[in-house]
Symmetry: C2
Subunit: 250 residues, 2 copies
């Protein structure tokens, strides 16, 4: 059944009012009609099944017929801090990362990031990424849309670290040296409800200085297996593995 | 250091002869010269460090200076049988799947595959996918290039199943029903050196009949977490999780 996220105020006790681009999606793309069923989430852990009762050009109204508990959120909150990668890789990371259960994404400008976001365009870019996250969250039956943060510089990212229970760095050198115990150890130390920050460098990796600063602030370098992963693959590895550890192994 | 795969006969006891497109890559893209070092693999578990001794238009010769044991292959052999997906998703699956350690890929035409490969173009398409696999294997420091098989129909895939130690199906309905123990159980039953086949449907999933036929032939439906993954994400999940289970957890 098709799923849509709506703002909290659009979902009342008995009905959901859908506005904006989803109206077009429901009436023109899905060609739905009165009495068709959809599922709506208010992005704050309320998910309902409802039946369309009114279709207009600007607004669709649907009557709530059932409260649902999808239980599709990862037991730990994983935030991906991604060194700005080239081209449209951030799109891929956010789309796939959302499917795999990420809570939030923090793009950051690393010393080896070739791409620089100019301030004027940043707003539009974040909007575009938020749209990708929303669509992927709907498609994968998520209860919440991951948050896409503004691009941070490293000093701000270092400050953010304090709000997490554990911070790891996907570290190529760890992979090369055969380090293979840290990631499983960190996941074993975390309990459901806790917050993990996973920091991933851009193409070319983090600089030694960046790694040292992060380590001094408490981040733990981890190998993600012995193969060298592209930057966009590392985020997906961390999330798939968190799902396996917390959702399938117990 | 840059890595290249060469045919077995191109690597003798003391030297490596590089031909074909890699010649252009070494001399024009990387702008390497006499005395520069590269790493070569013969795709049969011999990997060597060598020094370029001769650069010509058609051929580069390099002297072997060191035998290397990269040890970057997944302890179990994972083959991804992928229902033909739309667009260029197979490119992504093969690129990322190679980074994550897949042994082989078997594209198959599922009843809900919208794409049909015509025979005339299949050869070229497989060649293109093999090139993606080779480049991803070089980039990720693999010792072997995963094999990309010809597209199979389901009856042939069913026959192939006998050559594997375990066969799993990434099954959306399992995810929806909250099944979460099978994948970890299957991985626990496998030992290093054994072979796992992971069957993934195209967009829209496998039909009930296909799942029944696969189950009758011994395949085990597995949930990959409670979220609904796109077809291309399922392959990456299976591989990341196999790496975690066999490379990081022990």
């Amino acid at each position: 059944m098709q799923r849509y996220f709506v703002a909290k105020e659009q979902m009342t006790k008995h009905e959901v009012v859908i506005t904006g681009e989803d109206v077009k999606h429901i009436s023109r793309v899905m060609r739905m009609n009165i009495n068709d069923e959809i599922i709506c989430s208010n992005n704050e852990s309320r998910t309902v099944k409802c039946v369309i009762t009114r279709l207009a050009d600007q607004e669709i109204v649907a009557k709530i017929v059932q409260e649902i508990t999808p239980n599709t959120e990862l037991p730990i909150e994983v935030t991906i801090a991604q060194g700005l990668p080239k081209g449209d890789k951030l799109d891929l990371i956010i789309q796939k990362g959302t499917e795999l259960g990420a809570s939030a994404f923090i793009p950051f400008s690393a010393s080896r990031s070739i791409v620089k976001w100019d301030r004027k365009k940043a707003g539009k870019k974040i909007e575009r990424l938020e749209k990708i996250a929303k669509e992927a969250a709907e498609q994968s039956y998520r209860e919440r849309i991951p948050v896409v943060h503004q691009v941070l510089a490293l000093p701000k990212l270092l400050k953010e670290m304090a709000t997490f229970d554990r911070v790891i760095i996907a570290y190529e050198e760890s992979a090369k040296e055969g380090e293979h115990a840290q990631l499983a150890r960190v996941l074993n130390e975390l309990s459901p409800g806790q917050k993990l920050l996973c920091i991933i460098g851009p193409e070319g990796g983090l600089s030694e200085e960046e790694v040292n600063q992060l380590k001094q602030a408490g981040a733990i370098p981890c190998g993600f297996g012995p193969r060298i992963l592209r930057t966009e693959t590392a985020a997906l590895y961390a999330l798939a593995v968190s799902s396996y550890h917390f959702e399938l192994m117990r």
